[in-house]
Every structure is written in structure tokens, then in C-alpha cells.
Amino acid sequence: MSTESESETGTGTADRGTTAPSSSINLESVRAVAKKDFQDSVRSWLFWGLSLFFFTLLVATTGVVSYFGEDIAAQGATTDVLVGFVSEITRLIIPLIALILGWKAIAGERESGSIKILLSLPHSRKDVLLGKLIGRSAVLSLSLTIGFVLAAAVVAVLLGGFDVADYVGLLLVSIVYGIAYTSIAVSLSSLTRSTTIAGAAMFGVFILFYVVWNALTSVASLLADRGVPFFETISYTTEMQGQEVELERLPDWVYFVVNLDPGEAYGRTLTLVTDTDMIELQAQLNEEMFGGELPFFLQDWFALLILVFWIVVPIAVALYRFDRVDL
């Protein structure tokens, strides 16, 4: 990927051709920026304060679950309950930490002028964006890993054991989920010079996925009830307490849109890596709605794709745009 070897133009005059090596990506540069950013943000009190809040919440919840969970343990479902509870917490907390960790990533450096230190050195703007994304993702991953290990220790002490594979799966998917939100945060942060606007954008993202997106299903149902075109419901049959009942569901595309939410994708991806019954029960119910087989966009592998989408697309837009602005 590194392309800085053409520097000798021979004639002594500048090459004003179409190639723009200044906007290339140099992996050594990305590494240097990522390392610096990790060193810098890992020393942030705000970040560790948030992490501590997260650890406490996680450990307390798992402690409570474990303490009252002896009956569950007898049924061999401890890990299910653990994964279920933990993922409910992380689904909400990870975006918060990632957005707060990332909102100043670029806007803050532009506002204070410290980006001049970064870009006085031989880094391209793309190197800076990628280095920031990697550095902050690493910091977030460190926090998540510490939190998960602490919670696991509590569970292990109280219950004597749990399914490590499922738990590690939960951690890995949580990290991917965290990187998706970090990508959103760093990218939005690169679009403005003002940390105030960047902060508002972070808040907007949170509201978008936690208020607007959650309301989508209800709004779609309302519109469907009124027979608004494109919202017509589809009937399906299911068995309830031994009886066949006919129910209605929203059209496919509403499910597709609802599932674009990173949080929704996070939950679904979890079923891919853990064999948690609680989540699978939900999936079965869904299958009946679609006549036995889920459409591709509701299948678990697609949820992983959606998470990857939320990592790749925001940073790709930022990489394109940040190269073209005055600092």
C-alpha cells in the first residue's frame, strides 16, 4: 500500500501529474499515528471514568445473576443467562463509550491546532484517520476486555464455571460492535472543525439508533393500520398453545431497515458465535413469520455484514472527504 518511492522526479521540477502520493496510505504512518493516539487517549480520565462505570455495571449485574442463578445453573443455562444479560448492557453502553471516546478524535485536534503537529510530520490525512480509528478502537477493546474479564472472575467465583467459548464469542462480537461505533464517531468528528458540532452529531447518532430506530416498528405498524401504500401487512400462520392462528406482520423491507441498526445487528451476530437458547428462541419465532425460512437479511451472517458495513462505510466517506478540506 505504501507508495512513496516515486519521489525522485529526476528533472528537479515537480511532477504535477494526476498521481497524488500525498493522499496515499502508508502503513508505517498509520501505525505511528495509532500508537500515539493510543498512548494519548488511554490516559484520558474521562475514558477511564466511563470504563469504571461500565465495569461496575457489568460486574454488579453478573454478580446478581450469579448469586440468584443457582437454579439456572442446575439447568445448565448459566452462560445463556450471563450472555443474555451482559449483551443487554453492552448493547447500550458500548455505543456511549465509543461515541464519547471518538467525538473529539479529529474535530478536537483541528479546534485546538494539535493536528498541525500530526500533519507537519509526513502523514497523509488518510493515515491520520485510519490511525485514529485503530488507536481508539484499541483503547475501547482494552476497556471491554478488562470489563469482561472482571465480570467473568465474579461469575467464576460465585458459580464455579461457565462456558468460556460463548463468553469469548460475546467479547469478540462486542469489540466488532465497538469498532463500528468508533468508526461512526471518528468519521463524524472529521467532518467538522467544531467539537460542539461534533458532540451534537454524536448525540444525534445515539438518538437516531435508540429513539428513532426503536420507534420504526411502531410507526410502520401505525401506517400499516391506516393502509398507507408500501406498508401493507402480510399474513402468516403460527401455532400457539396447540392452535393455528393467523397473524399479520409488516412487509419485508421494514424488517430490513429495522435490522440496519448496529445494536440490532449486534444482537443477531451474537447468535452466530454463541449458542444461547434465549436468542435462538426469538429467531425461531421469526422464521414462522416468513413461512419457515428467514429472508437473507434476517439471517445471522447478514447481521455480521451489517456490523462490517458500519465499520467500513463511515470511515470510507471520511477518507474521501477529509482529503479535500482546508484544516
Binding site: 512513496e4 519521489s7 522526479t9 528537479g12 521540477t13 515537480a14 511532477d15 504535477r16 501529474g17 498521481t19 497524488a20 502520493p21 500525498s22 496515499s24 502508508n26 508505517e28 504512518s29 505511528a32 499515528v33 500508537k35 500515539k36 498512548q39 494519548d40 490516559r43 484520558s44 485546538s112 491546532g113 494539535s114 498541525k116 503537529i117 500533519l119 507537519s120 510530520l121 509526513p122 502523514h123 497523509s124 482546508d326 484544516l327
Partner: protein, 306 residues
């Protein structure tokens, strides 16, 4: 090959014209003082050299390379002390320098660099606790990493006390002796005087003069000011002095003691003789060159601009 070539550079921010068809060259190996009042466009020019901002029109080459397409290569061979930066408050001086070395892919000695800028005792302290002057020293040390061919220093004396400013000029001199080209911006004339081979004066986005310090002084003052104290003032005598070919200006500077200020480009004895021929007694006289501040002001204020 010039170290910096700026050719017809224009930069507008919305309706504001920051740089207007600016052209100049900085020769390899020279120390070039880039002078102008605040807001004249010095930082905008430097921002274009470093590809922080993109020109509206014009061509800029640094080290023979296009400043836009080859910025990474340029910055790998250049040391920069930017203006309006902020250090990473959670990182130490050592970490700042290690980052610069890492970024440039060079090996250097953080302790030696910090000794040069007199900051060695703060090497493992976090930059958040530094004074403005300490931060400025750290940035200068970062600029020196890897013995760059070109140093771009934007207002390097900011935050430094007179002693610090002198040390900074000493470093500029050492770097120049090593063979580096130094491009040095300031809004204070006397800071560039001691170290710069040539000075360019920028006013409202235009280069109004480029010359050596001595050349600039000469072009502004049209020679020296001769102050003559006489026994009495006489209009005819003043007229006689004014009519001399080398005199551009003659005014009464004070009544008691009666003193004339005469701007003269050639023989001063002609002036003295002319006064004596009119029957005046010359009691004392002195000469002075135009101060650098006068030179600077004559170029950067509307009245004195030429």
C-alpha cells in the same frame, strides 16, 4: 534549485482574500525572514507550503516538489514549528519526540535534542503542565528531529522570553551552518535582523519587498538622518540645505536647542558647509540610520507604503 518557489499564489476564504497573487523564492541554504503584521497572510502561506490548505490559484513548490501532490515527501524532509498548535497534554516530551522520530522513520536522541532547546530536565513530564515557552521549545526540538533539509518556523519566538528568543536564533544559525534552509516568519523586525540573509515583507496578502536587511534599510531611509544643532534658526539657511542635491528632507526638530533633522544620501559635510555659509554656527551634529522598526512600518502601513 530554490528551496521554496511560490508563484502567483492566491487564496480566498469565502469572500476574504488572504493571499493575492503572491510570488517569491527562497534559495537553498539561506535563512529567509518572512515578515509581516498579524493577519498579513504569513500563516496562510505556510499552511499552503505544508498542504494544510489548498490554493485557490497559483503554484507552490517546496524542495523542487509540488506542495500538493508531494506533500508527504516534502514533510519527511522538512522540520516544522507550526503556529497556533497545542501539544498533546497527556504525553511527555520524550513521547512527543519519539512520535516525531517514528513518523519520520529516523533515529535521533531525545535527550540531545531537548538539551539543544534547554528542556532536558522536563523530558519525562507531561506537556499539559508546560508553560507556553516550554511548549515552544518542545516544538522546536520536534522540528529538529532527523536533521531536516528545510526548517519552516512560524513565529518561533512566540512565548519565549528574550533569552529564549536569543537561544532560538542561535539554533537557527547552527542549523543554517549545517546546511539547512530556514524559512522563518515573524511580525517583529528585530528578530529576523540578526539571523536572516534575506527578508520578505508581506502586507495584506502581497509581498511588498524582498531584500537583505541592509538593502531594505537603504531603500526606506534614502540614506541617513543628520541631526545638526546650530546657534539659531534661519529660514534661508534651511532653504539652502533643502536645495542641496543629496538632501531629500530638512526639518526643524526642536527650537531649544535649535536643531535641524536632515535626510541626506550623500556628503554630510556639504550640509554643514551650507549652514556655515549662511552664517550659522554648527555646535553639534550626529547621524543615525533608519531604525528597523521604521523600515518595517514604512512597508506595512498605508502611509509609508511604496
Amino acid at each position: 534549485m530554490p528551496a521554496i518557489t511560490v508563484d502567483g499564489l492566491t487564496k480566498t476564504y469565502g469572500q476574504t482574500l488572504a493571499l493575492d497573487d503572491l510570488s517569491f523564492e527562497v534559495e537553498e541554504g539561506e535563512v529567509f525572514g518572512f515578515l509581516g503584521p498579524n493577519g498579513a497572510g504569513k500563516s496562510t502561506t505556510i499552511n499552503v507550503l505544508l498542504d494544510f490548505v489548498r490554493p485557490t490559484a497559483g503554484r507552490v513548490e517546496v524542495l523542487g516538489l509540488d506542495a500538493q501532490t508531494h506533500s508527504r515527501e516534502i514533510r519527511s524532509r522538512t522540520g516544522v514549528l507550526p503556529e497556533g498548535y497545542r501539544t498533546y497534554e497527556r504525553l511527555t516530551a520524550r513521547q512527543h519526540l519519539e512520535f516525531a522520530m517514528d513518523s519520520k522513520g529516523v533515529d535521533d536522541d531525545p535527550e540531545r535534542l531537548l538539551e539543544r532547546v534547554d528542556l532536558a530536565d522536563a523530558i519525562d513530564k507531561k506537556a499539559g503542565g508546560y508553560s507556553k515557552g516550554m511548549a515552544q521549545r518542545l516544538m522546536l526540538a520536534m522540528a529538529l528531529v532527523g536533521e531536516p533539509e528545510l526548517l519552516i518556523l512560524d513565529e518561533p519566538s512566540t512565548g519565549l522570553d528574550p533569552n529564549g528568543a536569543r537561544e532560538m536564533r542561535e539554533i537557527v544559525r547552527q542549523e543554517s551552518e549545517r546546511g539547512a534552509t530556514v524559512f522563518f516568519s515573524s511580525h517583529i523586525m528585530e528578530q529576523v535582523e540578526a539571523v536572516c540573509d534575506r527578508v520578505g515583507i508581506l502586507r495584506e496578502g502581497e509581498m511588498v519587498a524582498v531584500d537583505s536587511v541592509a538593502g531594505l534599510r537603504e531603500s526606506v531611509s534614502d540614506g541617513t538622518v543628520l541631526r545638526v544643532t546650530v546657534d539659531r534658526l534661519d529660514d534661508d539657511a534651511i532653504e539652502a540645505v533643502r536645495s542641496l542635491p543629496d538632501v531629500s528632507e530638512a526639518t526643524v526638530e526642536s527650537e531649544a536647542p535649535p536643531t535641524l533633522a536632515v535626510r541626506v544620501d550623500g556628503s554630510k559635510t556639504d550640509v554643514l558647509s551650507a549652514l556655515e555659509n549662511q552664517g550659522l554656527e554648527v555646535r553639534d551634529f550626529s547621524t543615525s540610520e533608519a531604525s528597523l522598526e521604521e523600515v518595517f512600518q514604512s512597508y506595512t502601513t498605508e502611509v509609508g507604503a511604496r
